[in-house]
């Protein structure tokens, strides 16, 4: 089971749990497992095209999955996944 660290803004969707576990050999399949337990997470993390939302950063073992294989990034039982909402904005 991979471990997911959930940021404050998403914890309302994980019963306030900071850390949850999910099964899957890839990030995408583990997220599907996670969404079975916490369905409201899906819309917050995945866009209409089935991709990770632009302003959600996901790291597997401290590497941004966008620099790996995205949702196809491989996981194993020791994988640690960190989810962080992007810090972005601006006057415009």
């Amino acid at each position: 089971m991979a471990t997911f660290r959930i940021p404050p803004v998403l914890r309302t969707h994980t019963n306030e749990q900071v850390q949850v576990t999910a099964s899957g050999s890839t990030l995408g399949s583990a997220l599907e497992d996670l969404f079975t337990s916490f369905p409201a997470l899906r819309e917050r993390m995945i866009d209409e095209d089935g991709s990770l939302r632009r302003f959600v950063n996901v790291y597997v073992d401290d590497e941004d999955v966008r620099t790996q294989q995205g949702l196809d990034t491989k996981l194993d039982d020791r994988s640690s996944v960190i989810v962080l909402p992007a810090m972005a904005g601006g006057a415009a």
Partner: protein, 145 residues
């Protein structure tokens, strides 16, 4: 490693130390006309350490974005100390320091203070601070030197 939520602050004030004030103003002046950005970490409701970070957005005059790499680095530093992100800071170089629609839409840190410094007049920096939860803005009473 923290496995329980650190808890929410209900503070209505944002007290800025002289050191932090100096860091925020110096950063905003140095980056103008671009927006600057940075993150504070600490125990709940406290900025123990502030990191000025690079604005990597492709339109830095009117937008900011912290790189995912910097964000992870600061996040891990906070976790190592049992802290959380307590401040998300950026500047509005030419406009009022009030959250824009973009700021609201992308405000993903409900436990942090969102502070914006208005630099329309660089000699009179105007710092305002907010808590933004589910796109609802609560302005905080800012005290600075």
């Amino acid at each position: 490693m923290v496995t329980e939520p650190l808890g929410r602050t209900t503070a209505t004030r944002f007290d800025v130390s002289p050191e932090l004030w100096e860091q925020l103003v110096t950063l905003a002046r140095a980056e103008k006309p671009k927006e600057c950005c940075g993150v504070g970490i600490g125990p709940v409701g406290e900025v123990a350490r502030f990191h000025a970070l690079e604005n990597v957005h492709e339109e830095p005059i009117t937008r900011y974005e912290i790189s995912s790499k910097d964000q992870l680095r600061v996040h891990l530093e906070a976790e190592d100390n049992g802290w959380d992100v307590t401040l998300v800071f950026h500047s509005h170089p030419a406009t009022e320091p009030y959250p824009s629609a973009t700021d609201l839409a992308l405000a993903g840190w409900p436990d942090a203070v969102y502070a914006i410094i208005g630099m329309a007049d660089p000699d009179q920096p105007l710092l305002r601070a907010y808590r933004i939860v589910d796109a609802v803005i609560t302005e905080l009473d800012v005290r600075h030197p």
